[in-house]
Amino acid sequence: MAPSPGAPAVAVERVSKAFRLPTERVHTLKERALHPFRRSGFEEFVALDEVSFDVAHGEFLGVVGRNGSGKSTLLKCMAGIYRVDHGDIYVDGRLSAFIELGVGFNPDLPARDNVLINGTMLGLSPREARRRFDSVIDFAELREFEHLKIKNYSSGMLVRLAFAVMIHVDAEILLVDEVLAVGDAAFQQKCFDEFYRLREQNRTVILVTHDMSAVERFCDRAVLLERGTLVRDGSAHDVGLEYLEVNFGRPAGAAADEEGEEPERSGDGRAAIASAWFEDEHGNAASMLPMGRPCAFAARVRFAADVTDPVFSFGLENADRANVLAASTQWTEPRTGTFAAGDEVVFRVRFENVLRPGRYDATSAVALRGSGAAWLDRRERLCSVVVSGTQASDALVQLPYETAIDRSPAPSEVVS
């Protein structure tokens, strides 16, 4: 198809799609015969509601949303697997959808046959698919296993083979659904390197995912779907923030409001933590903190009475309610000074964000000096923050480290 000048790679115009969910499915003729007059009732489930957006050529778009938000349905509509109920989708260029890697793979056949099947399914002619086999198998680094039935492949090898086919089908527009989640970090990196290369050739990539860090790192733009409607279309960063807020239930971060009812609050009231928030490395309030960057916790404290040398403290706990950080002025500055009634101060804790991605809740307190538990005010989980990152490690924290491999022993180790 000839590219029409000025046409967007993909134009989605007021697309709606509903599924009929039968309340009582008539599956057999007998049931039909026994209940000829029963209307098989169904409920309409609106998966997409008037969704519109354009994707420019060469753009890397992220489609994000929670489970059931309609993002996969949207992808399947764009791919032509589902027929839309209303609206139109226009595609300028050859489009390939990768809802799943290795569609049509047959475990009992060797790589060559599977590349042929998969490539043909994805739009190559059998001859083209055969011709590209060598380059596919080399990209997948599976030359030595070429003749093995793929049921004997490891899952990593399968993913490599499938991905190799996928990037060899010459699609100008790629629709990718979550498929990269299966590989390890190195493989994912390779995938994204490949996407970048494609993008340089003015190809378009549309990535459906709920991995926000991937979206922020790779996408130019993102759209956020929520219950079938497009709620946000903007920069990957903005959409990412909004998604995290939606996804982690209560609004993460910013300020906990002053009048908020916090059940876990104790203290004699001589001081009050009015609000608390997190800041990124530039000192801006943030609800999401990138891993591996400096950041800060801040709390606004108002004094209702004269207090000398109070202790300010701050604790951070992860989603499993385990403490990952406990900071207190008791150790850093035992003499915090005298505060008069009516004073308002901001207490800040700066730290290097070595936490693994996830949500964290902050607890902050002001106490009398020495006693330890004579709270002036203590608010548990008064605000929360989401740490984003791509590090796929299960370590609780990722401490800064360096690695070294010494091939020749250092002189000091040479035993004389």
Partner: protein, 292 residues
């Protein structure tokens, strides 16, 4: 787009350059070459898989009709002392079996094919009709190999190469059309009604006995019944095959039916099934991925 539910707001008011419109899944789609490529690739793969992992490979595929042939031959000629005046009865029997096995294999597999291929149907955009037709094509490959055996058997029994063999491609094309129409219809029906399969299995059994496969038409004493049997397209094809390919002593389909007029019935069935099958499938195709 379900027809009727949508008022076409022809040219959208804000006209702007756009690419190709995505219309969603269809039975055949716009790209005929892709349709053929896919059908062929799927059929070849399936064919290959049959022989993978078994030492004797193709021989097993051959054994099925041959074993059935052996059993029927012994039962009817030795045990029941069935007398046929027809020439080359064993060859006629084998030919009938081979054609019936083709029909039963293609339709029997096609019934569940859309559901069996669920993974493809739900995850890739491709013309849906590829699924049942590739099944028919695989069976057709088997048929071609089995026909070679029939021909060898015929020559070995003293038959000769005749001009009538030229009818072979036409007859096989008709048989393939019959099988494809049924397969198309059954596969789409099965998505909605799961008891299509057992019903079809019973119908196939009836078809086996209601078609001159292990008997020849001349053993039926009643001429009306003979003609009635020829309403069945499979019977017409087998009968004509025996006349044209095996030996002219078998009456041709026209002779057996007592004239062209009566052959209009099987022709109508053949065309009717093809049209009905295609239209039903075409109507269901856009929603198959959702209904599975």
């Amino acid at each position: 787009m379900s027809a009727g539910t949508r008022v076409e707001p022809s040219p959208v008011p804000t006209e702007r350059p756009r690419g190709q419109r995505i219309v969603g899944p269809a039975a055949i789609g716009v790209d005929a070459r892709r349709f053929l490529n896919l059908t062929r690739t799927l059929a070849q793969t399936e064919f290959k898989l049959r022989f993978f992992g078994s030492a004797l490979g193709y021989l097993w595929q051959l054994m099925r009709p041959l074993l059935l042939f052996g059993v029927l031959y012994v039962v009817f000629t030795q045990v029941l002392r069935f007398e046929s005046n027809a020439e080359f009865y064993p060859v006629a029997l084998l030919a009938g079996i081979v054609m019936f096995v083709f029909l039963s294999e293609s339709t029997g597999t096609a019934v569940t094919s859309l559901v069996d291929r669920e993974n493809l149907v739900r995850k890739v955009q491709f013309p849906r009709l590829v699924v049942p037709l590739s099944v028919v094509l695989t069976a057709l490959m088997n048929l071609a190999l089995n026909l070679v055996v029939v021909i060898v058997f015929l020559l070995a029994s003293g038959g000769s190469v005749r001009l009538g063999w030229l009818e072979l491609p036409l007859l096989m094309a008709l048989l393939a059309l019959f099988a494809a129409s049924l397969s198309t219809l059954l596969s789409a029906l099965y998505v909605r009604y799961r008891d299509v399969r057992p019903v079809w299995e019973v119908l196939l059994q009836m078809l086996f006995y209601g078609t001159p496969i292990f008997y020849t038409l001349d053993v039926i004493p009643n001429e009306t019944l003979q003609r009635l049997l020829l309403v069945n397209p499979l019977a017409v094809i087998i009968q004509q095959f025996r006349h044209a390919v095996i030996d002219p002593s078998h009456p041709s389909a026209v002779e057996a039916a007592g004239g062209w007029l009566l052959l209009l019935a099987p022709a109508a069935i053949l065309v009717g099934l093809a049209v009905w099958g295609y239209r039903y499938f075409d109507r269901e195709a856009p929603r198959v991925a959702e209904d599975l």
